[in-house]
């Protein structure tokens, strides 16, 4: 029986460990999870970890050191499938905002000066798909229980779900919230991946985009709409960049330069 179970590894690169923690926080389902699969490696949960061949590797966090690049490549070699777990793995995280190399170097110097790193050398924060091929993405900061369990269960049963292409607005309307953006509040719901349950708007707070940028969003219209609502260009850019990592770098290069 044991041989038939999928071999799983759960890994953490640079992030807050919130996604790994969330898996452990599925308290009611934890026994079922550990029964259903063979968890080979999960540093947060156990110490007898085996680093061998895997069916699935779940990787949290962004890549920020040379050592992590090696680790990640090794994981990819050993795993049949790789899942990016959470915002940092998916887009590079808050630590990758704007994705501008010069700006990163400048900030790095400001914080660390000219010291020589001995353990490993830092690199600019990037999502894992900058280095390896990724099979599935689970966005979220952190991911959400229901989303994880649904993904995990469907995966086990051989029918993994597609990544949602809906914006937060869809669930926001399911929850019958008055639109904050319409009222002039800087809400990033239309350009953000759905899945959080529109939790902020349910509490009358605008979406700040923590589930990461929606691939198919109309960012240009959102950008000009917010300008028309009276927001400053730099403020809009800052808000849009916070949780977008390197994924919308092209947008930032072009936006504001449209013909006026």
């Amino acid at each position: 029986m044991n041989q038939e179970k999928l071999k799983i590894g759960i890994y953490e690169l640079t992030g807050c460990a919130g996604d790994a923690l969330l898996i452990l926080d599925c308290e009611k389902e934890l026994i079922d999870i550990f029964n259903a699969v063979d968890i080979q490696s999960f540093l947060m949960a156990k110490s007898d970890n085996i680093e061998g061949e895997l069916d699935v590797a779940l990787v949290e966090g962004s890549v920020t050191t040379e050592k992590e690049i090696e680790e990640l490549k090794d994981i990819r070699k050993r795993a049949k499938l790789v899942v990016a777990l959470g915002l940092c793995a998916t887009v590079g995280g808050i630590q990758a905002r704007f994705g501008d190399r010069e700006e990163w170097e400048e900030n790095y110097k400001k914080v660390y000066g000219d010291i020589d790193m001995t353990h490993t050398r830092p690199v600019q924060s990037k999502p894992i798909d900058e280095y390896i091929e990724v099979d599935y993405y689970l966005p979220g900061c952190p991911i959400e229980k229901e989303q994880f369990l649904n993904f995990f269960t469907r995966f086990l049963k051989g029918n993994p779900p597609e990544k949602s292409q809906n914006p937060v607005c869809v669930t926001c309307k399911y929850n019958e919230n008055d639109c904050l953006l319409k009222k002039g509040v800087l809400c990033l719901g239309p350009v953000t991946s759905d899945g959080c349950g529109s939790i902020c708007i349910n509490h009358n707070l605008p979406c700040i985009g923590c589930w990461g940028p929606l691939d198919v969003a109309n960012r240009t219209a959102e950008f000009y709409l917010l300008q028309e609502k009276g927001y400053d260009v730099e403020e809009i850019k800052k808000k849009m960049a916070n949780f977008s990592g390197t994924k919308i770098a092209e947008f930032f290069k072009k936006v504001g330069k449209e013909k006026r």
Binding site: A36, L156, K157, Q165, C169, E176, N177, N204, V216, K259
Partner: protein, 353 residues
């Protein structure tokens, strides 16, 4: 049909007796937000001074997301937990018309039991209203109701005139007939006529719906659609809030540790990117402009050609909701040759052109 009178102080006593064994749903104001239909546990929550709820009453008959059934290898268990006897009080004429259109959709070829069971279990107690600048129901001729309700309350300041629209409505009245007055005085009739005239004059927005099928046909390739597509955020809100939008998606939610799955049904919206995606990854309406064209064909053309009236009931929700001002008013007025004040127009003029 019969009309009787109810003095205002008798309204809550009436609602109290009829809702003893049946859930009462009515409009309430959400804190920091708009109005919503909600199950009432305290009559003081009911707020009849509302224009439109954020979501239309379709949510009561088909919730945004619900379990249809649980399936396992050898078993199949239907789940009708959203169905229970209900009284829906305070619903406006446009929304009653919206439900009548929904009835048609969900029984057109096959009966949809998830809808019809909930519908059959719900009594409709309508209420009159006063238009704001976004109400279009006079143009859609849905500002008056002739069918689709059990009782209808017209607010004449001191009292209600109550229309009895069905035998179930009549049964409700009989539960506490002494609260009502059978005698309608000449003055009541005069008050009603005056109310109706004043209400009809209060509309601020008009759309020439009868011209729309022709204009949609003639302007099928107009640059308007590209302008709209350019500004549309593809948020799906217009579709979710529209009382006559009825599309849905179905997905599996397998249970961990057992061999079964919940089959979940949730609202879908043709304005969203992957609505028209089919197996193999092909997407027939990848462009936002094509998706909006579909939406407006539904509202302004197809239904009119088939049933002689638009599938817009004039509730104004798309106007109140769309962040970039793409709505039945700005689109219909543009089709009719007007230049409208809207974000999508300004976006085109100032950024795109």
């Amino acid at each position: 049909m019969r009309v009787i009178k109810l003095s205002k102080e008798n309204l809550f006593p009436f609602l109290e007796v009829i809702s003893e064994k049946t859930g009462l749903w009515a409009p309430v104001r959400k804190p920091n937000s708009g109005h919503v239909f909600k199950e009432i546990d305290d009559f003081a929550q009911i707020d009849l001074d509302y224009t439109r709820t954020i979501l239309p009453p379709k949510k009561i008959f088909l919730p945004p997301s619900f379990n249809m059934f649980k399936a396992s290898k050898n078993n199949y268990e239907e789940d009708f937990s959203h169905v229970s006897p209900k009284i829906l009080f305070g619903i406006h004429p446009c929304d009653i018309h919206g439900l009548l259109i929904m009835d048609r959709f969900y029984s057109y070829v096959f009966d949809d039991p998830y809808y019809s069971k909930a519908r059959d279990n719900t009594l409709i107690l309508g209420h009159s209203c006063w238009p704001d600048e976004n109400c279009l129901c006079k143009s859609t001729n849905t500002h008056i109701v002739e069918e689709g309700y059990d009782l209808f309350f017209t607010d004449l300041k001191d009292s209600y005139l109550v229309w009895i629209g069905s035998s179930k409505g009549d049964d409700l009245i009989r539960v506490k007939a002494e609260l009502f007055d059978e005698n309608i005085a000449e003055k009541d009739i005069q008050n009603f006529i005056q109310w109706r005239e004043e209400r009809d004059e209060a509309f601020q927005t008009e759309i020439n719906f009868s011209a729309m099928p022709d204009l949609m046909e003639l302007k099928y390739n107009d640059t308007l659609w590209e302008k709209l597509g350019d500004a549309c955020l593809a948020c799906g809100s217009c579709t979710n809030v529209c009382p006559t939008c009825n599309c849905y998606n179905v997905h599996d939610k397998p249970a961990l540790g057992e061999d079964s799955s919940q089959i979940v049904r949730c609202w879908d919206a043709c304005t969203l990117e992957n609505y028209s995606e089919v197996a193999g990854g092909e997407n027939f309406r990848k462009k936002r402009s094509d998706r909006l064209k579909l939406w407006y064909t539904h509202k302004l053309q197809a239904y009119i050609s088939k049933y002689g009236k638009p599938s817009c009931v004039g509730c104004g929700r798309c106007i109140a909701t769309c962040p970039v001002d793409i709505n039945v008013k700005t689109v219909a007025h543009t089709l009719d040759g007007d230049k409208v004040d809207s974000f999508w127009n300004r976006f085109h003029e100032e950024v795109r052109k």
